[in-house]
Amino acid sequence: MANQTNTTANLADDLPLNAEDERKIDVVKHSGLLLIACAIGLIANWVGTGTSPLVALPGMLVLYVACIIGLGFARFVPFYLPSVAWVSLIAILITIPGVPGAAWVSEQVEHLNFLALATPALAYGGLALTASEFAIARRSGWKIVIVAICVMVGTYMGSVVVADLFLRLGQ
């Protein structure tokens, strides 16, 4: 309620506009938080798929190391690429057939369900929403809700139509 007196600028203070801040992240602190996230991920995978955390542990360790290296690259490489992009590239590289150990890595991460690994992030996401974000959503009103749905449908369907067209042309 107190937020009603705030200006839009104040509301914006809590928004995640820190896309560039990865240059300053503390890799050591993040590796600790990442350990917690991976542990919760293992349990999510256990409950969701029945795979014992011990069986899935080697795969999770590989993912953990890939994340740490990705964070380090985002922090220390002189040009900017988000850490998630680095993490993706590393993960792709270590699973390309022919790369030493690729078959083993693929086999180990197969024990991890991709969707179960996303569940903890969404739980944090729900808990992380601030009063400001609820206030912005409320204040923006029903028009913005309609526009937001059109934006999501448009973004997705635009890609689907273009992709489908070029897949057909390529055949």
């Binding site: 839009t8 991709f114 569940t119 996401g125 729900g126 913005i144 635009g158 273009v162």
Partner: protein, 271 residues
Amino acid sequence: MTGKPGAATGGLYLHILVLAIVIVCELIGIQRLSIGLGTVIFLPILYAFALGILLNPAIFKASAKFLSKDAVRLSGAMITVAIMPFIAKFGTTVGPQISKIIEAGPALVLQELGNLGTILVAFPVAVFLLKMGREAVGATYSIDREPNLALIADKYGLNSPEGAGAMGVYATGTLIGTFVFAIMPPLVHGLGIFDVRALAMSCGVGSGSMLAACTGGLVAVVPDQKDIILALAAASNILTYATGLYVGMFVALPLTEWLYNKARPSERKTA
């Protein structure tokens, strides 16, 4: 504020609460609801997000007793940390499918431009149907995730009408995006018109949760294509990370500005 006593316990409560939410949601598991058009898919990530909101201290006052402002802030930092193992797992699906990815290369690259479809669909609705002002520029030029929002903040400031539009879509997308992206792809697949590879590679819109929802929904309706769905979605998401900001900066935003000036010539800014 990190040195404040009690901050560590607040963090502990946060992680325990998240663990509890995760266990409950994974126990419920994926649920399907068949409707005339196709199948509506409900995913554990949806329940997790909904439960998170319900227990959010800003909504559920009792939570504020053990989740401090610092814990909420930590939760925000944990989103980007917790999504990383998921992104890494996603990446590992690409390597084994690399030849199929290269085969689909042109479609994969060009569908990035398909993201401009937001302007095609949302801009006319905002400007002509809902009679919105310059908010429409910020709201409809992109899917308004973090990098896009940063671009608007940089160019117009968040205090501007454009900023308000972008923030509105950002906040709404944060609240309902996972839901929309879990429901829409299986229904579009149900139409039977589009190649499932096209549906998969369009999942990469630059948001981890939307990516998870979109691929989760598709895999639930086409389980035998799981490997290629994951690989294509992962590849397109990386492309969006790499190109999204630049497409927004050099194509989408100038195009939306131009369209707005054409649609409302009387409001043309002198700046």
